[in-house]
């Protein structure tokens, strides 16, 4: 009787572990097992038919027309160094990298940037600001005009929407983005 009970207990534990491990792992693929049965009444697999189709030219196209690069003056200072040794002047400016455009898709903006050849460091519609410090060295016994600013690009063109080989919409688009800061000094 005891042997019977022990055997029953072990059997139940084994069966539970088997169920548990099967549920914890990925579904078992029966296709390679002996239990797999091919049903004669299974629905037939429908393969895609090969037939001639019309060329589907759909999507946006950017046609570039013009671009310009501009410098914006943000700081100007006349530095005087009457001493006999080199001096320095430091200035800190918040530099904002931004990009904006009235385009329907970011792919158009990427085409615009590629056409101009000046890359933007931020994604379309975003901006980041960091402080750039500039240190000018002023030679002994001299006066210099110090200048600093940012450079930005403006571009314009046409965004065309193609569908099934035809232009269904066309509009003029413009984009603007900052790409660098600049500084110089001019002897007075």
């Amino acid at each position: 009787m005891k042997k019977m009970l022990l055997a029953t207990s072990m059997l139940s534990l084994l069966s539970l572990n088997a169920v548990s491990s099967a549920s914890a792992e990925e579904p078992v693929d029966f296709t390679n097992s002996e239990d797999y049965t091919e049903y004669d009444n299974a629905p037939p697999v429908t393969l895609p038919s090969i037939a001639p189709r019309a060329s589907d030219m759909s999507g946006y196209e950017y046609v570039h027309s013009s671009s310009s690069r501009n410098n914006q003056l943000e700081f100007q200072h006349l530095a005087k160094n009457p001493s006999s040794t080199t001096d320095s002047v430091s200035y800190s400016v918040a530099v904002t990298q931004s990009s904006s455009a009235n385009v329907a898709t970011s792919a158009t903006f990427k085409s615009m940037v590629a056409e101009v050849g000046v890359s933007t460091q931020v994604q379309l519609g975003t901006s980041t600001t960091k402080t750039l410090s500039i240190t000018w060295s002023i030679p002994a016994n001299s006066n210099y005009l110090l200048r600093a600013g940012s450079s930005w690009v403006q571009a314009s063109g046409t965004e065309k929407l193609w569908s099934a080989g035809k232009v269904i919409r066309s509009k003029t688009v413009t984009g603007k983005w900052t790409y660098t800061s600049w500084s110089d000094k001019v002897k007075q």
Binding site: T8, S9, L16, K130, S133, I134, T135, W136, S181, S183
Partner: protein, 181 residues
């Protein structure tokens, strides 16, 4: 007798279920620390903005060497103890870039060196040297090499932070090196 047998059978099943559920709970508890680890990893960034303004950063010497198809720039620089601490905290992730002046870039057909990592802060040292190299496609003539080595004026020095954003610009590194300490 049959009732006792059934009772033991049910007891064994219940014990097995209890053991399986307990194991699952342990697995979930073990997975939780990884979530906490992710939260700990998010830390506030340390900014390098305005940290290189003199006298926190100074250049002691700017050297230029040139070969037939190779130009080497060496900048010996010093930093303040405050800047040392900041750079140590960001694992010395800062970069230098030299802007080549027009009279030299027309010879070597390059207008900058590209970004070069700054020296790693170690041993509490406040003096370091960074070397920026340029490999040239076209061999230099003897007069080109003489012009490059002797004329060191007008090189701009950019410093970039850990995000590779420019945070400082020195307009003339050679002239800057002549400022008394």
């Amino acid at each position: 007798m049959i009732k006792i047998k059934n009772f033991i059978f049910i007891l064994v099943i219940l014990t097995s279920i209890f053991v399986i559920v307990a194991c699952d709970d342990n697995q979930q508890i073990e997975e939780k620390p990884s979530t906490n680890q992710q939260i700990e990893d998010v830390s506030s960034p340390i900014s390098l903005e305005k940290k290189f303004i003199p006298p926190n950063f100074g250049v002691d010497e700017f050297k230029v060497n040139a070969d037939d198809n190779f130009v080497e720039f060496k900048i010996s620089y010093r930093i303040s103890p405050q800047l040392y601490d900041v750079l140590s905290k960001i694992d010395s992730k800062y970069y230098f870039e030299l802007k080549i002046p027009g009279n030299i870039s027309s010879i070597i057909n390059k207008d900058s060196t590209g970004l070069v990592p700054g020296a790693i802060m170690e041993f509490n040292s406040l003096n370091y040297i960074v070397t920026l190299n340029l490999d040239l496609e076209k061999p230099l003539t003897t007069s080109d090499i003489k012009e490059i080595v002797q004329n060191k004026n007008g090189y701009g020095l950019y410093i970039y932070d850990q995000d590779k954003d420019a945070i400082h610009y020195f307009d003339d590194v050679e002239l800057f090196s002549t400022i008394p300490k």
